[in-house]
């Protein structure tokens, strides 16, 4: 009987004292909403965290708390940040990571490594490059009526849909970072008069920032990459060269512009290696577009549309050419030409992989873009 009593006691004690060693109460967490990494003097790292607090009650709106700390590594800096706040800093709901321009020009892999190692980290967090420092952008605290953290997250998300910036998350760039045959690009965030502007792409080579693309080029790059979002809009000047209306102070000038949306995109990429290891990339794009805005014409005549098709094709091809030139200048192999070489011309790749950055600049691109207007709206 004594032994049974003892056993029961041990059992019930075990029930009450065991467990909870890995309990991580949501109650005790301060949730990190976004983070920024900047270059600090003496080789240190400056981190800025946005913590979202939602006070209890039905009509209470969330508040952002911004703290900065320095450290040798991201984790070290985070520990220092954690020292400054009550409860525990938890990053499992992190929405975005911003990297300051100066830091991005160095290798960004060591900055991001902790996100890949920690099993609880949010791998679906967006990542972007901040013009100037990330701290400056996050210190805005509010943009209009929206908290900075939500604004950045939602802004990048909406810009992904309009084919302005690529859809990248921490998870998506990881394999690309380790791949010598491809480079990644990130959204480029700019501060413009207390607002955040996301319309450009930051190009990377070997995990280092090497340049940016203009808004139009960014969209064109995404078309060339065959990763169109929900919509992709371009505005082109349609006046033929030499006409009067092209001058800038002519009020008739507004009649010359055509805005269109790319409805369907077909891309063909072919890689050819000629003698002397000259690599030529043929990029054939077929765009089916709908005209959104064109004050000049109602577009009911077939030859007018055919003429416009021709002119748009020419303009878009030029834009593609310009985009690719910029990319080559920045050594950013965003289209994964190296990966194509590995797959289809391994011999060539073997010769070129040592100096792929400079060899990539010698690649010849031959983009051909055919634009076909398929929808004109409901004007006629």
């Amino acid at each position: 009987m004594k032994r049974i009593c003892f056993l029961c006691l041990v059992m019930s004690l075990l029930l009450f004292i065991a467990g909870c060693w890995d309990q991580d109460l949501l109650k005790d967490a301060r949730l990190l909403y976004g983070g920024g990494f900047d270059f600090a003097p003496k080789g240190k790292l400056r981190v800025t965290f946005v913590i979202q607090d939602v006070p209890a009650g039905e009509q209470q709106s969330p508040k952002n708390d911004i703290i900065s700390a320095e450290g040798d590594t991201p984790m070290d800096a985070r520990e220092h940040a954690d020292d400054q706040i009550s409860r525990h800093l938890r990053s499992y709901k992190n929405r975005f990571v911003l990297i300051g321009e100066e830091l991005a020009k160095q290798d960004i892999y060591p900055v991001l490594e902790v996100f890949y190692r920690d099993p609880k980290s949010a791998l679906n967090a967006r990542i972007g490059v901040a013009q100037g420092t990330a701290e400056d952008i996050l210190s805005l605290k509010k943009v209009g009526n929206v908290l900075i953290a939500e604004e950045i997250d939602e802004l990048i998300k909406s810009k992904e849909e309009t084919t302005t910036v690529p859809k990248v998350t921490l998870e998506k760039i990881y394999p690309v970072m380790l791949d010598p045959g491809e480079d990644f690009v990130l959204p480029y965030l700019m501060e413009q008069g207390a607002r955040v502007d996301v319309s450009r792409i930051a190009m990377f080579h070997n995990n280092k920032l090497t340049g940016t693309l203009s808004p139009e080029e960014s969209s064109m790059y995404l078309l060339l990459k065959n990763s169109k979002g929900k919509e992709a809009r371009f505005t082109q000047n349609m006046s033929s060269i030499g006409e009067m209306s092209t001058t800038e102070d002519n009020p008739q000038r507004r009649y010359d512009f055509l805005t269109f949306n790319v409805d369907k995109l077909k891309r063909k990429m072919k890689l050819k290696v000629q003698s002397g290891n000259q690599i030529t990339v043929h990029l054939n794009l077929k765009l089916k577009v709908s005209v959104i805005e064109y004050p000049k014409d109602r577009l009911e005549k077939k030859q007018v549309v055919a003429e416009l098709n021709k002119r748009l094709s020419k303009k878009m091809t030029d834009l593609a050419q310009k985009t690719l030139e910029h990319m080559q200048k920045a050594r950013c192999d965003g289209l994964g030409i190296g990966r194509q070489l590995m797959a289809f011309h391994p011999r060539v790749w073997k010769q070129q992989k040592e100096e792929w950055g400079s060899n990539y600049q010698k690649v010849k691109f031959a983009p051909v873009i055919q634009v076909e207007i398929t929808k004109q709206g409901i004007i006629n």
């Binding site: 049974i4 890995d22 309990q23 949501l26 006070p55 949010a122």
Partner: protein, 508 residues
């Protein structure tokens, strides 16, 4: 350890000695004295003297149990009118038997018979004049349905048998009487279809009923507990129902039904886990609607047993699996709560159980108080005061509603009880704990048996054909075979009912 357990659950029994046989005295007074003594001079014991065949006689009866009208119409009137002849022929009652053993008389009186004694005779006549006071046949309140039969069993065994016999008008329907309860002598009836039910099953059930040995059989719950294979399981293994249509349907699947006098519940065995989630409504509505409702019921079982545990595990161990839009609203609500999630959940669950129990017991006039106390105080103020978080209230409400969806009260309570160990496991080990808890429950379900048939039947052992009437209900014309779990003698239950579809080549 085993000794102590066996002490707890000891099953000592002593056989009662059979009563001595006493032959009927020739003296009327002597007989009367004996009866009076045997019934301890009960005040409702009445007698009336008559004379028949020139000898003095006595009619003895218990006025509380006998129908006085019957005594007057069927015994006294003919005897007085004829005053000569054979008693068997003169008395117009249906049930009349001759006995020479006086010790049987008190028992006969207790069962509502009246006893006819004559001076100088060594035989007594026992005549059935039992009064029948029964309530109306009405729909069982806790097993209501929308469409279909609205009658239900009552406390009178004969009426219940009538309800079943009326539904299954077939000579193969066998009724066997048993008596259980050494003191109360409760009448039991075992019903089965001779041509369907498995003979081994009947033998097994018969043996189990005969081995019941207790002074009082109050409710079918007693019988169920005596007959269940695994009495310590949380799951009910015998289906209790008050619906004659449900009973008849189970009979026709080759199952066995036990009815007890004085209780409106029928015991059905052997049943599977899924029988507790079937309702006659499934079969009365169209099959798509029926399937949908049944699926919802089974999902509600999972919700009721799992949701509180899941909530605790997520809040305590894995908050990262909440989507970001949700996590902030949840967090804002739980930030003020002073208790760990398990305490929070236990408080709410126990409050709910108390409220439910109070709701059952309270008379309907004060029933409104429960609504106010439960709805306002528990639901609203507890959150306002910062004791419990809103998500916890939602979780508990969801659990309660889901558990009440089950058409059987027994399984409804079982699901809510099942939530408690899962909650403790979740509080100790998070999702891993829940996984192991579910594993134990599944293993237990697979291991359970009910009179030799698997409890988790069409799933384990797997039989795809029986799945047609398990999670969903297929159209009746596709259910050509009876479920295999009770091992019926005949499997085919439906032939070519929609044969008209091919048989009419002339028609377009």
């Amino acid at each position: 350890m085993k000794d102590v357990l066996s002490k707890f659950f000891s099953n000592n029994r002593t056989e009662e000695k059979p009563q001595m046989k006493i032959s009927v005295y020739t003296s009327l007074d002597q007989n009367m004295e004996y009866i009076k003594n045997q019934l301890f001079h009960a005040s409702d014991l009445k007698w009336r003297s008559i004379s028949f065949n020139q000898s003095k006689g006595l009619i003895v009866f218990l006025e509380s149990l006998s129908d006085l009208q019957k005594i007057q119409q069927e015994i006294i009137k003919p005897l007085e009118g004829k005053s000569q002849g054979n008693v068997d022929e003169v008395v117009t009652s249906v049930g009349i038997t001759k006995h020479s053993d006086l010790s049987e008389v008190p028992q006969a009186l207790i069962q509502g018979n009246c006893v006819l004694l004559f001076e100088g005779s060594t035989e007594v006549f026992i005549i059935d004049v039992a009064a029948v006071n029964i309530r109306n046949i009405s729909e069982p309140a806790n097993e209501g349905i929308i469409r279909g039969a609205h009658d239900g069993f009552i406390e009178h065994l004969m009426t219940n048998l009538y309800l079943v016999r009326k539904r299954v008008e077939n000579p193969n329907l066998v009724v066997r009487y048993y008596q259980s309860g050494k003191a109360t002598k409760t009448k039991l009836a075992l019903l089965y279809m001779q041509n369907l039910a498995n003979p081994d099953l009947i033998k097994e059930v018969d043996q189990r009923i005969n081995s019941i040995s207790l002074d009082m059989t109050l409710s079918p719950g007693f019988i169920a507990e005596m007959m269940e294979d695994n009495p310590s399981s949380i799951f009910p293994q015998i289906l209790l129902t008050e619906r004659p249509d449900r009973t008849a349907a189970h009979l026709m699947e080759g199952r066995v039904v036990i009815l007890a006098d004085g209780d409106p519940s029928a015991l059905i065995l052997p049943v599977t886990f899924f029988a507790f989630y079937q309702s006659p409504d499934d079969y009365h509505s169209r099959w798509i609607a029926g399937s949908f409702v049944r699926l919802i019921r089974l999902v509600s079982f999972i919700i009721a047993s799992l949701i509180p545990a899941l909530y605790i595990a997520i809040i305590g161990f894995h908050p990262e699996i909440l989507p970001e839009n949700l996590i902030f609203s949840v967090k804002s609500s739980i930030d003020r709560v002073p208790f760990p999630p398990i305490v929070e959940a236990l408080i709410m669950q126990i409050t709910l159980e108390v409220l439910r129990e109070a709701g059952v017991r309270l008379p309907s006039r004060v029933g409104q108080t429960i609504g106010i106390v439960g709805g306002l105080v528990i639901g609203e103020s507890v959150v306002r005061a910062g004791l419990i978080s809103y998500p916890m209230v939602i979780v508990v409400a969801l659990t309660a509603i889901s558990s009440f969806v089950a058409p059987s009260n027994e399984i409804s309570i079982a699901t809510r009880l099942l939530g408690f160990p899962l909650m403790i496991l979740a509080a100790l080990f998070g999702l891993i704990g829940i996984t192991f808890g579910m594993l134990f429950i599944l293993i237990h379900l697979c291991k359970l048996e009910c009179c030799g048939t698997a409890y988790f039947a069409p799933v384990m052992p797997l039989r795809m054909k029986d799945m047609k009437d398990t999670f969903v209900r297929f159209p009746i014309w596709s259910l050509n075979q009876r479920p295999h779990d009770p091992h019926p003698q005949k499997y085919v239950q439906e032939r070519n009912s929609r044969g008209w579809k091919q048989d009419d080549p002339g028609k377009e």
